[in-house]
């Protein structure tokens, strides 16, 4: 029963069913998500062959601890997103189910071309979802850039196939050491850029602003945490275990990632709209996650990725609610909005603080792991950059939080009467869900040994050798 | 600490008051001679003070009274700590920082009382007086700091004792000439003598802090002024001009120093207060720092050079 294929097949099946039974679409979506989430917790690590061909030739699904974390996380996040914004699903249930299948496929597949197919399924679903805002030129921009990315990725894997004679990830990885850097340069580069479009690396992330900033309460968290999270997991899998490339290429990719990180954070600092801040911050964080993957700090990257997608889920949901209720998400015109929505505000604040890396939240645990990992690798430049960016990040987050919590002009004592008019941002159910997710952020940061146990299950992720922060370390080696 | 200490303290207080008041009287005559007047009798200052104390007065509220008492109390306590020719009412209490900061209690009390009168002239005067203090005190304190470093003691009487027995050449003003100049100039500022008297400028701000005083309050102010003068001149005398081995020598040196300051000030114009600050921070401060560096890094002037 716990066959990972079901994660892909059932959503697809339900998608077809919901074409037939249009009225039940919403519920079918919910069923699919519940099924997937439940199943995700039961699948075990291993390999599943599809179609009868043995691996180097046939398509297989590979479940290792890394994938498992991804599958559980992404399915759960998608479930939460859909549950929170269930009222907005409407006729998108088919698309969402297809996307669910595509996402699980992307995470699970062990074949490069199969990955391309699932990616296209997901991305096409994403194009359609992005059209929800009725800003078609943004959708077309996304479509054009996305298609170019896909084409480049396709070209990349074909070149790789030409070199290695295989499209199976494990097989390619095994044959890679035989190739020279110059041979690998073009295919790896093409794959990097192709995936980079979905991961939102900086020069190729032109579509992000148009799509994210107009997305609603359903679409925005879906893009920012579900799809982006998936893309990052795939990136990690490709560049850590499949294409562990040589120094020159690593350096170039690292530069691009770090550049994304720095520019993303700087751009976020420059924004006035909540969603814009969040989207640039996701671009920046995506850059950091890829930098970590490329540097081989898989565990730190995964923790950061988890903390980031969870935070973004809450924050984008609430940001979507801003536009929904107040028709703006400019934080200055939302002055004191949390006065009337304290619990929503608390959830938002915890998510934001975790992003800024305040201690005892999971973001801080991620930061600690990153720092320890880099320092252990004798790399002092990146930690310095990361910490400097943490200041910038903290600065825009605190500015945002202050504007949203404390109404009143400069020089006035904050009073409730200065706040924007009272509207309920999220329903009680959704507020509770957001608070529960926020609780996960706290629990993940406080109970760090449990976090580590859950994420790694006692084994290094993708052969990650970098150290992680543990409770015993703080005791000074007693 | 016995009753005798307090008795001695009272004697010092009384002696200081009588001596300085008489000297002020004499100097009023000296001033008059410089200005080609005849001048009052030498004991005129006593008469003024006792007359003021006997007259009725007005008060502007409790802080007006309290400030005066606090000022006089603080100044009296400071006088008690001043070592005169090696004699100390309370042994080992003549720390230079204690003296200079205890002096500030008196000043604060006076300023408080003056501002409490509600007269803006008084407040302006206080504001100028405090600015003036920032001007002269920093260079002076740096020089005193240098002395403390050089002699490894902050006791006024010990510093005075170390200058004695070598004649004029033993004086710190001679051993550390720049420091001596700074101290001498700062003395003008401390005493509020021209050119640094803008805070009491009678024609300009109606005597500044003193504007509202009359009767016994004014008498208190007079006493206060005499005692403060005594503290300031004594301090400079002990620290830079060798103090005195006996009361007589001390008194003579004191009289000469004070009269000299008075004579010079009589031929001076008046600085505006910001000019005073600029002056002190341009010349004496630089001198003081140079002197400090010379003493600290070269050791010149610490041990006598011959």
């Amino acid at each position: 029963m716990n066959n990972p294929v079901l994660l892909i097949v059932i959503p697809l099946l339900l998608a077809f069913l919901s074409v037939i039974i249009k009225k039940a679409g919403k519920w079918l979506l919910l069923v699919g998500l519940l099924f997937n989430t439940a199943l995700a917790f039961f699948i075990t690590t291993g390999e599943t062959i599809i179609g009868g061909f043995a691996p180097p030739y046939g398509i297989n699904l590979v479940v290792d601890q890394f994938t498992l974390v991804g599958v559980i996380l992404i399915n759960t996040l998608m479930l939460i997103t859909i549950v929170v914004s269930f009222d907005l699903v409407g006729k998108y249930s088919i698309v969402l189910l297809t996307a669910l299948a595509g996402i699980n496929g992307m995470l699970l597949t062990g074949d490069l071309f199969n990955l391309f197919v699932f990616m296209e399924i997901t991305v096409i679903a994403a194009y359609i979802l992005s059209a929800q805002a009725k800003k078609y030129h943004h959708t077309i921009t996304y479509l054009v850039i996305g298609s170019v990315g896909s084409v480049l990725y396709l070209l990349g894997i074909i070149l790789l196939y030409n070199l290695t004679g295989s499209l199976n990830m494990a097989d390619v990885a095994a044959k890679l050491p035989l190739l020279t850097t110059k041979e690998l340069l073009v295919p790896v580069l093409l794959i990097f850029i192709g995936i980079g479009v979905e991961v939102k690396l900086m020069p190729v992330s032109g579509w992000v602003k148009g799509v994210y900033s107009n997305a609603n309460r359903l679409i925005a968290p879906l893009f920012a945490s579900v799809i982006a999270g998936t893309a990052l997991f795939v990136f990690g899998k490709l560049f850590v275990s499949v294409l562990p490339v040589s120094d020159t290429l690593t350096l170039l990719m690292l530069i691009m990632s770090v550049m994304t990180f720095v520019f993303g954070e700087f751009a976020a600092f420059n924004q006035k709209r909540v969603k814009n801040i969040l989207l640039y911050s996701s671009i920046g964080q995506a850059g950091l996650v890829t930098a970590l993957f490329i540097s081989g700090l898989v565990y730190a990257a995964v923790i950061l990725l988890i903390s980031n997608v969870i935070s973004k889920l809450i924050m984008f949901t609430i940001a979507g609610a801003f536009t929904e209720k107040y028709e703006t998400d400019d934080y200055e015109s939302l002055n004191g909005v949390f006065v009337h929505n304290k619990f929503t505000g608390i959830a938002f604040t915890i998510a934001a603080l975790s992003m800024a890396g305040i201690p005892l939240l999971i973001g801080f645990y991620a930061k600690l792991n990153i720092l320890i990992g880099f320092f252990q690798a004798q790399n002092y430049v990146l930690p310095a950059i990361i910490l400097l960016m943490a200041i910038v990040e903290g600065a825009y987050i605190i500015k945002l939080l202050l504007a949203l919590w404390a109404p009143g002009k400069e020089g006035q004592v904050s009073e409730k009467s200065f706040a924007v008019e009272k509207k309920q941002l999220l329903s009680v159910k959704n507020t509770i869900i957001c608070l529960i997710v926020a609780l996960v952020i706290i629990a993940g940061g406080v109970l760090i040994d449990i976090t580590e146990k859950v994420v790694t299950d006692g084994q290094p992720l993708l052969g990650d050798q970098s150290p992680s922060f543990t409770i015993s370390q703080s005791k000074g080696g007693e | 600490m016995t009753v005798m200490n307090f008795v001695y303290g009272f004697i010092v207080l009384l002696a200081a008051f009588i001596f300085q008041t008489a000297l002020t009287g004499v100097n009023r005559k000296v001033t008059a001679r410089i200005q080609k007047r005849y001048g009052p009798r030498w004991y005129q200052q006593f008469l003024d003070i006792f007359k003021a104390l006997r007259k009725g007065s007005i008060t502007h509220g409790w802080v007006f009274d309290f400030g005066v008492i606090m000022a006089l109390g603080g100044i009296m306590a400071t006088v008690i700590f001043i070592p005169v020719a090696g004699f100390e009412a309370f042994p080992n209490m003549d720390n230079v920082f204690v003296i200079s900061y205890l002096l500030a209690v008196g000043m604060l009390g006076m300023a408080m009382s003056a501002a409490g009168s509600g007269n803006p002239w008084a407040s302006i005067g206080v504001s100028r007086a405090l600015t003036n203090m920032v001007a002269y005190d920093v260079p002076l304190m740096i020089v005193i700091f240098t002395l403390i470093f050089a002699f490894d003691t902050a006791s006024v009487s010990e510093i005075a004792a170390m200058q004695q027995g070598m004649g004029v050449l033993g004086w710190n003003a001679v051993r550390m000439p720049l420091g001596g100049i700074v101290a001498f100039i700062a003395l003008f500022g401390m005493l509020g003598k021209k050119p640094f008297d803008s805070f009491i400028a009678p024609a300009e701000i109606a005597s500044g802090p003193m504007v509202e005083y009359g009767g016994k309050h004014l008498g208190f102010m007079f006493i206060l002024h005499e005692l403060m003068t005594f503290i300031e001149v004594s301090l400079i005398l002990s620290l830079f001009f060798g103090g005195g081995s006996s009361i007589l020598v001390y008194a003579i040196k004191y009289a000469i120093l004070y009269t000299l300051v008075n004579i010079i000030s009589q031929v001076m114009p008046r600085f505006k207060i910001d000019q005073a600050v600029k002056f002190f921070y341009r010349v004496p401060l630089v001198f003081a720092i140079i002197q400090g560096l010379v003493v600290i890094f070269l050791g010149w002037g610490v041990s006598v050079w011959f």
Binding site: F266 | L53, F97, S127, L130
Partner: protein, 607 residues
């Protein structure tokens, strides 16, 4: 009773306070008093077990004398300030959160002072930063809260870098042993020193990190400014303490270039302290807002504390540690009195006030004693500590530091007098005719703090004995105390005797005064006005531009003031550039970038 029990009890009490505040915010505010009092009691209870270690999850603590001393200073300030909470709590936008954060920041500081490893230190530190950030925003200004956070973040992030660097080198996070691994590596030690101490500098408001301090202290809720200035600033002093003890800066830098026997890196930090004294003093003199004035005075006093602690010797170190408590008491008192004036009048602008003494004599007297201490005038606490610092500086011949110290201490007469004159003395404006003295509840903290200030000033040896223990713990020569006398190599001070002689002088003056004829009471308007007829009291009150001549001399702004603004604008510019380059809604531009990236990588990879 262990430290862990104390902390857990406090956290529980904080939670209880929060819940009570949700029901009734005023009740919760009273509970903050109870909780902080409980903290004091518990701190006394655990004093006997100094030297023991505790751990809880990834927190580890060690009970030290210095931690105990810092905690006592901190909790005293919190306890006394808490008395004001019930009166302001209704004005807070989030009363329950205020009470919670108030207590959590207290717990955070205590945890930080007893922290045994870097992670605990950092977590507690950040807790305090964030809770206080959220409290400050409840005051007048959001921007100040923002600046406060950013400057704190600069400090804490850079310090985190140092901690991780040390961890990498030594393999341990325990503060007391981790630094020892640095002894053989001077360059690394230098980096760690400057990065580690940055948090301290930013918190204590040392130039050029002082920008946040006047903003935050000036516009925080009135009930929190005393805590910020009297308490939280002292966290920076703790970092400075760690940098000379655990980091052992004097030993690590023993072979580097020294200036007057002080290793150059330490001297640089001390010079920064000296600059803060000068800048803080000059800026304080220029302020019109009483709270900002006091805030700048905290900058200046932070400089004294820093210099004292970093000198790490018998005399000045004791002075720095003593100044910690005397400034905490004086500054908290001054802020509390200004808060009470603001409570009654609604403003802290000196030019709008005047003559408060006629309505609030107790507040006036308390403020007077506070500023006497702050200006370092005997017989109050501030004098003894400044005396020790100055004696210590004179002993070592540190001329430039001393010059700044002198300027600061004489300049402090100027700035402390200004609120005294402009707020309390002078003419009483008719609109304040009806205001009342602070009520009993508000007077309690004033009495407590005043008595404490006086006690520290008259019996400094009680505190200095604890400081001698700290010196013993830190491994330096203890300050010599004989009965009531402090004996240092170049001077002695018997503060009690100074007080008695002052009382003697006061008594003589009082006797003379009483013996003379009683004076006649006249109104404030009945003054000499040079034959002008002025009938409005406001016009007869000299309070704005109080030090106009001095301000004229110092009106040129110094460059660091808008440094942060410039950096922020630069960041925004780069952000804008990135946005317009990489986030265009036109696909062509992205395609262009793909080609460029491809080209760069291709060239980079081929070459």
């Amino acid at each position: 009773m262990t430290l862990i029990t104390v902390l857990i009890t406090l956290l529980t009490l904080a939670a209880v306070t929060y819940l009570l505040s949700l029901v009734n915010s005023k009740l919760g505010a009273y509970f903050t008093i109870v909780t902080s009092l409980a903290t004091i009691v518990m701190l006394f209870l655990i004093k006997d077990s100094i030297g023991q270690s505790y751990s809880l999850s990834f927190f580890t603590f060690k009970l030290t004398t210095v931690g105990w001393y810092f905690s006592m200073v901190m909790v005293t300030v919190y306890f006394t300030t808490a008395f004001l909470n019930p009166f302001w709590i209704k004005k807070m936008i989030y009363p329950a959160a205020y009470n919670l954060f108030f207590l959590v920041s207290l717990i955070g500081t205590i945890g930080m002072f007893f922290a045994r490893d870097f992670i605990t230190l950092f977590i507690c530190w950040e807790t305090v930063v964030w809770t206080s950030t959220f409290i400050i925003q409840m005051g007048k200004s959001r921007k100040s809260s923002y600046v406060y956070y950013v400057v704190s973040a600069i400090g804490s992030m850079v310090t985190l870098f140092a901690m991780m660097l040390v961890y990498q080198v030594s393999g341990t996070l325990e503060i007391s042993t981790a630094f020892s691994a640095l002894s053989g590596q001077p360059v690394l030690a230098l980096i760690v020193f400057f990065t580690f101490i940055l948090a301290g500098l930013s918190k204590i408001g040392i130039f050029p990190f002082h920008v946040w301090l006047p903003m935050a202290h000036g516009s925080a809720p009135h009930t929190f400014s005393p805590v910020l200035s009297g308490g939280l600033v002292k966290m920076g002093a703790f970092i400075a303490y760690l940098s000379v003890t655990a980091f052992a800066a004097y030993e690590v830098f023993a072979n580097t270039f020294t200036i007057m026997g002080i290793p150059a890196p330490l001297y640089i930090i001390m010079v920064l302290g000296a600059i803060s004294i000068v800048v803080g003093t000059v800026m304080a003199i220029r302020q019109d807002d009483a709270k900002k004035l006091l805030a700048y005075s905290s900058v200046a006093n932070g400089g004294y504390i820093l210099i004292g602690i970093l000198l790490y010797d018998q005399i000045a170190f004791a002075g720095g540690m003593l100044h910690l408590i005397s400034h905490a008491l004086a500054s908290a008192t001054a802020f509390i009195t200004i808060a009470i004036v603001a409570y009654r009048t609604g403003t802290t602008k000196m030019s709008e006030l005047g003559g408060m003494i006629h309505r609030m004599p107790v507040t006036y007297t308390v403020y007077l004693i506070a500023i006497i201490s702050m200006a370092g005038i005997p017989p109050m606490g501030g004098f003894v500590s400044k005396w020790l610092i100055l004696q210590g500086l004179a002993d070592r011949g540190l001329l430039f530091l001393a010059a700044a110290a002198f300027f600061g201490s004489i300049g402090s007469f100027m700035y402390v007098f200004r609120p005294l004159s402009a707020v309390f003395l002078g003419q009483l404006a008719p609109k304040y005719e009806k205001i009342k003295e602070a009520n009993i509840m508000m007077q309690i903290p004033m009495y407590l703090l005043t008595i404490a200030t006086l006690l520290v000033g008259v019996f400094p040896n009680v505190v200095l004995r604890v400081i001698a223990d700290i010196q013993l713990e830190a491994g330096i020569q203890e300050i010599v105390l004989v009965g009531n006398t402090i004996v240092v190599s170049n001077g002695v001070l018997d503060a009690l005797r100074v007080f008695i002689v002052f009382g003697y002088g006061f008594l003589i003056a009082l006797v003379i005064f009483i013996l003379r004829r009683k004076s006649r009471r006249v109104t404030l308007m009945d003054t000499y006005t040079s034959a002008e007829f002025i009938h409005t009291p406001e016009l007869l009150h000299y309070s704005s531009n109080f030090y106009a001549p001095f301000e004229r001399l110092t009106k040129k702004p110094y460059p660091v003031l808008n440094l942060y603004e410039k950096v922020s604008i630069k960041i925004k510019e780069i952000g804008h550039m990135a946005e317009s380059l990489f986030s265009s809604s036109k696909p062509a531009i992205t395609i262009f970038w793909i080609i460029i990236v491809f080209a760069i990588f291709f060239l980079g990879g081929v070459l």
